[in-house]
Symmetry: C2
Subunit: 209 residues, 2 copies
């Protein structure tokens, strides 16, 4: 019998959505437990001791009871779910190239595009600290640079690693398709817009909540 | 015949060192081409068109001439080199858990610990912009949190994923063992210090230049 899969998540988080989308595309049943990060629910002593010492979601729980194992980091959780499926290429270079886009997502994309979305759409501009305000312009520029790089790649490629969707596409789709909530104009990136349409047409696709 | 491997690097970069260390531990020959990031040598039109449109090093080049392929992102390059070796666990959960620490490294560790090292040891505190100065304290706190999390994990584990070194250890070793150049006191983290000793004792280990 397959292990129970439980996603510890905040449904508004794109990082959590990556895991739900991966499970949906693979037809895997996934239970969820919700936390409100705005209320500090992932910083409680119970969460830190039992789910993730890093105080963050998402965390993928594999199995239940005493034998449960916990996997933080959205892209690592997607890797676990998609292991041995068509969402992870088998070829040595293609596999590394897929991971290249997933590391790019965590380093160049998420800290800029997801953070501006969180600040503008959830915290609210009026409530930002002076330090956060000072970071808005550099994050805007770095986010636009990430989108330009993606748009250039998608001008010549249907998906990030060749002709079919992989985890690289899922990782980058999560915060890209809602980038306008962070003040990024997707109309500037026509190849990204076409790719968003291809992602939404994948069999089993589920929208972000 | 195996493909020629060429590392496009700045020897002072810990991200480049990860790839050199992986190749050394695996006994793989690796040629290098040097760039000075302080002089903008990775932002030239030739570099952007021929090596990496993201204007960053390291990039692992696989093969030479017309068939050359280029792999940006340090952790993806390490994955390519270590594919099918003991540095990557075969077990599904262990493999995902190794990637979990590698994504943690790029998201929680490198942007804080490597950036403060770069600012303090290479740029120089007197030359930092007001914006960079405002980021020093949050980066200091986030870097210490990353080191505390690592120290807690290493209190109960010889390496990040069990009893033997994997790519997770290589990725985290690169900037951790020189964290004092960024003003972090490793004496506060005794389990990290012991692990650094275990890493330096690995057969084939090479130091950072």
């Amino acid at each position: 019998m397959a292990d129970t899969l439980i996603l510890h998540e905040d449904p508004r988080s794109g990082n959590c959505y990556k895991i739900r989308l991966t499970a949906a595309l693979l037809g895997l049943p996934l239970a969820t437990r919700g936390y409100d990060i705005m209320k500090g629910e992932t910083r409680t002593p119970e969460f830190l001791a039992g789910v993730n010492a890093n105080g963050r979601i998402p965390v993928l729980q594999i199995g239940d009871g005493d034998g449960a194992r916990f996997l933080p980091e959205s892209n690592a959780a997607c890797w676990y779910l998609a292991h041995g499926t068509a969402l992870v290429p088998e070829d040595r270079f293609a596999q590394a190239d897929m991971l290249r886009w997933m590391f790019f997502e965590q380093y160049n994309h998420e800290p800029n595009i997801a953070t501006l979305r969180f600040w503008l759409a959830f915290v609210g501009e009026a409530k930002l600290s002076a330090e956060q305000r000072a970071q808005m312009m550099p994050k805007r520029m770095a986010g636009c640079a990430a989108l330009r790089l993606m748009d250039g790649h998608l001008a010549a490629n249907a998906f990030f690693c060749g002709d079919a969707a992989t985890l690289a596409d899922i990782a980058l789709f999560a915060y890209t398709h809602v980038a306008e909530e962070g003040g990024f104009a997707l109309s500037d990136y026509p190849h990204i817009r076409s790719w968003i349409g291809r992602m939404q047409a994948l069999p089993g696709f589920v929208p972000m909540q």
